[in-house]
C-alpha cells in the first residue's frame, strides 16, 4: 500500500483546523443570531424596518442606513446586527488560518514551490479581507 493512500501531513493538519474553525464559526453564528433577533443588543437597523433596506442596491442601503464599508463594523459590534459579523468574518477567515498552519509543514518537507504558492494564497486572501479593494458601485 502506497503512502499516498494516507492523506499527507499537511492535508490532515489543514483538515483538523478547518473542522475546528467551521464548528466554532457555526456555533457563534447561531448564538449571535439569537442575540440579534431577540433584541438582546439593540440593532443598528430596527428589525421591523429591514424590509425597507433589503430591497435597496448596496450603495443606497449603505447611504440610507449610514453604514460605512470595510472594517467599520468593528466599531458597531455592540449592535445586534453587527454582532453577527464576528462569526461571518470568522468563517471567511478560517481558510487563511488553515493556509498559515500548513506553510511551516511544507517548508519542513522542502516542498518549496507549494510553500510559496500557499504564501501567495494567504496574501491574496489577506488583500481581499483588508477592505482595500472597493467596488466602483452602480
Amino acid at each position: 500500500m502506497s503512502n499516498k493512500l494516507q492523506a499527507t501531513e499537511e492535508q490532515l493538519a489543514y483538515a483538523k483546523l478547518l473542522d475546528l474553525g467551521m464548528k466554532v464559526g457555526l456555533l457563534m453564528l447561531v448564538v449571535t443570531f439569537f442575540i440579534y433577533v431577540f433584541g438582546i443588543f439593540t440593532p443598528h437597523i430596527p428589525v421591523n424596518e429591514l424590509p425597507n433596506y433589503w430591497k435597496l442596491p448596496v450603495k443606497e442601503y449603505l447611504k440610507a442606513a449610514d453604514i460605512h464599508t470595510g472594517w467599520s463594523w468593528v466599531s458597531k459590534v455592540g449592535e445586534g446586527d453587527f454582532l453577527n459579523f464576528i462569526p461571518i468574518v470568522f468563517l471567511a477567515g478560517v481558510t487563511i488560518l488553515c493556509y498559515i498552519r500548513i506553510i511551516p509543514i511544507l517548508f519542513r518537507k522542502k516542498d518549496t514551490i507549494y510553500a510559496f504558492i500557499a504564501i501567495i494564497e494567504v496574501l491574496v486572501l489577506v488583500l481581499a479581507a483588508s477592505g482595500v479593494l472597493k467596488s466602483g458601485g452602480h
Binding site: 449592535e79 459579523f85 491574496v124
Partner: protein, 324 residues
Amino acid sequence: MSKKHLKFLFFAVIVFAVFLVSSSVFASSDAAAPVLPVEGGSSMPWWAWPFILFIVTFLMGIVAVLGGVGGGVLFVPIIGGFFPFHIDFVRGAGLLVALAGALAAGPGLLKKGMADLRLAIPVAVIASSCAIVGAMIGLALPANIVNIALGGTILGIVLIMAIAKKSEYPEVKQADNLSTALRISGIYHEVSTGQDINWKIHRTPQGLATFIIIGVMAGMFGLGAGWANVPVLNLMMGAPLKVSVATSKFLLSITDTSAAWIYVNNGAVLPMMVAPSIIGIMLGSIVGVRILAKTKPAAIRYIVIFMLLFAGTRALLKGLGIWN
C-alpha cells in the same frame, strides 16, 4: 437516518422557526439607523421573509444533496428571483451559503483523501484571485445587467448538467510537464470495488487557465462553482470523478472565501438573510445526506434541472424588464 436523529432534526427546524417568529415579540425597534419611509410595503410582517427563507433553504439543502449540486447554485437564482431582497445581498448570502457548505464538507473529504490538497492549491490561487475580480465587477454592475448575465449563466449550467458526460476514471496516458513538476497525482481507495485507484492529470495549463473564467463567474454571481469545477477537473484535466467532486467542494471553501470578503467589506451582507440561509441549508443538507444514504431518486436531478431552468429564465426576464 435513525428515528432519533430525524426527530432531533425536526425538533431543530421547529425550534428555529418558532425562534424566528417569536423574535417579532422580543426584538428591539430602537436603533441607530435612520428610519426609511415604507414604500409600497408588503402586508407581511418583517419576520415572514426570513422565516420563509429558512424553510426554503432547508428544502434547498435536501434537494441540492439529492440532485448532486451545491447549495449556492440553487440559492442565488431562486432567492434572487422570488424574494424581495436586492440581488447584491442575495449574491453576498449565496457566497456565504456556498462557503459554509464547503467548510463543513472540507475536513471529511480531506481526511479521507478524497479531496486532494496538492491538486487544489495551484487551482485555488488562480480561482480565488479571479473571484475577487469577479466580485468587484459584480458589485459595480447595475442589477439588470447582473440578472441578464446570471440568467444566461444559469441556463448555460442547465445545458452543462443536461448534456455533459462524466468519466469515472478518465484515461490519462501521460501526465503533463507542469503536473509532473508539481507532483500532482495520487491514489485513492474505491470502497465500492475495494480497489486502490492510481490517478494523474494532464492538460494542467489549460485547466488552470479555465479557472480564471470560473473564478470570475463565481465571484460575480455568488454561485459557488462546483458546476464548472467538476467538468474541468474530471473531463479536461483527467482527475477521477470522485476526486474531482471532492476537490471541487473543498476548492469552494477557498474560492468563495476571497469573493465573500469583497461582499462583506462592501456592505453587501445582511445578517438577517445570511444566518437563516446558512442554518437552513446546513440542516437541509444533513437530512439530504441521510436520505441519500438510503436512496437516490433519479427524478430529483431532473427536478433540480427544471428548477434551475425556471429560475434562470426568471432572472433573464427580470433583467430584461419583461417579468418584474
